[in-house]
């Protein structure tokens, strides 16, 4: 394992692009023997690999003009056309000019516009329609609210009546039971008087 500030292999393979980083590695290698030896082993390995020479190709490769592989004349013309900025620019300018001329000659004459009074009348009519729609919407909303309030009121009233009825029944029952108690008390008082 190397103790170099940056990877020795990156340095050796020219993948350490920053000159400052390269300088730091070089300074380190000058004073560190293990890293110097490691770098030397990498150099020897590379030198050994380079003893395997590139071979000459045994047979040169060449293509003859073959219609099967060649692009069609139209495609070649298109490729040449798109490849030339000047031709493309000229064609664009020509198309733009033609478009301008055609537009100027065949453009239909503008139809006579409506008079100011007619416009105002149309605007007024539209405003009236909108106002009517808003009024109708408000009236509908108000009706709905009134109906809801009335329904709630009736419901409250019904609940109150039911509560009163329940209370009155209770009071009547209570009175009846008190009367019954009084009667029994007076009966017992009379019986004791008779006994004496």
């Amino acid at each position: 394992m190397s103790c170099s500030p940056f990877d020795l292999r990156d340095y050796f393979l020219q993948e350490l692009a920053d000159p400052e980083e390269r300088r730091q590695v070089e300074a380190h290698v000058r004073v560190c023997q293990p890293c110097r030896e490691e770098l030397e082993r990498l150099r020897l390995t590379e030198a050994a690999l380079f003893t395997l020479r590139d071979e000459e190709i045994p047979q040169r490769i060449a293509f003859v003009s073959d219609k099967v592989f060649e692009p069609s004349p139209l495609r070649r013309w298109l490729a040449a056309f798109w490849g030339s900025a000047a031709r493309l620019g000229f064609a664009s300018a020509a198309m733009l000019s033609v478009a301008l001329i055609v537009f100027a000659t065949v453009r239909p004459a503008p139809a006579p516009g409506p008079s100011a009074a007619a416009i105002e009348q149309r605007v007024q009519a539209a405003a009236d329609t909108a106002a009517r729609a808003i009024e109708a919407r408000y009236a509908q909303k108000t009706d709905q609210l009134v109906k809801a309030i009335e329904e709630r009121d009736q419901q409250d009233r019904r609940m109150m009546m039911a509560s009163y009825e329940r209370q009155s029944d209770y009071q009547q029952n209570k009175i009846a039971s008190l009367e019954l108690q009084n009667r029994s008390l007076s009966n017992s008082a009379m019986m004791s008087k008779d006994g004496q």
């Binding site: 082993r41 390995t45 050994a48 690999l49 190709i57 293509f63 592989f69 490849g83």
Partner: protein, 188 residues
């Protein structure tokens, strides 16, 4: 270097418009490099030549799809990589591509303690490369022999830069253990 790059770009433009002459000139510039790349990943001269021809035919047919002419080299090597792996798959459809090992050209190399001659070193290198996995070997070929940057290798191999680095560094560790002592002895 810049002049050459401009020339290539010009040839690519002309070839894309259908100029066979321009394409032939482009082929003559790249055929040796592509052939040697394929030779080192297939390990067979005939296969390398066949695939090289297929690569350039495919390149001619698809040249118009190349958006950035400056990326011609990675694009061409990407085609070469795909063609080679397609050949491996056709040849052994039931085998996982990862297990494919090129046919050995020189095998059974032993280098004893005696001084090493250049030819022996070359054989030792060929043997050491054969012992790598196909991915490791391809990473070494693209970096050491073809001089691509990591991002270009990632484009050719269609994998992240981290994978490229991992494959290459593992391969370099193995090669270093095997070749550095031999090379050092050869120098002495």
């Amino acid at each position: 270097m810049i002049f050459r790059a401009v020339e290539d770009a010009d040839l690519i433009r002309q070839a894309a418009r259908g100029s066979v002459e321009a394409f032939n000139l482009l082929v003559s510039r790249w055929e040796k490099r592509i052939y040697n790349y394929l030779l080192r990943i297939t390990g067979n001269r005939e296969d390398a030549l066949d695939v090289t021809q297929d690569v350039f035919l495919k390149a001619y047919q698809n040249l118009r799809k190349l958006d950035d002419q400056d990326r011609f080299a990675p694009w061409l090597y990407r085609i070469a990589h795909n063609e080679a792996y397609s050949m491996f798959r056709k040849r052994r459809p039931e085998t996982d591509v990862d297990e494919l090992v090129p046919e050995a050209t020189e095998t059974g190399i032993t280098v004893g303690g005696s001084p090493v001659f250049p030819v022996e070193l070359s054989l030792a290198v060929a043997s050491a490369l054969e012992r790598l996995t196909p991915e490791q070997r391809e990473a070494v070929v693209l970096k050491i022999y073809q001089g691509f940057k990591f991002d270009e290798m990632a484009e050719i191999l269609s994998c992240p830069v981290s994978t490229v680095k991992s494959r290459l560094y593992t391969a370099l560790e193995l090669l270093k253990l095997e070749l550095a002592p031999i090379k050092a002895r050869g120098l002495s």
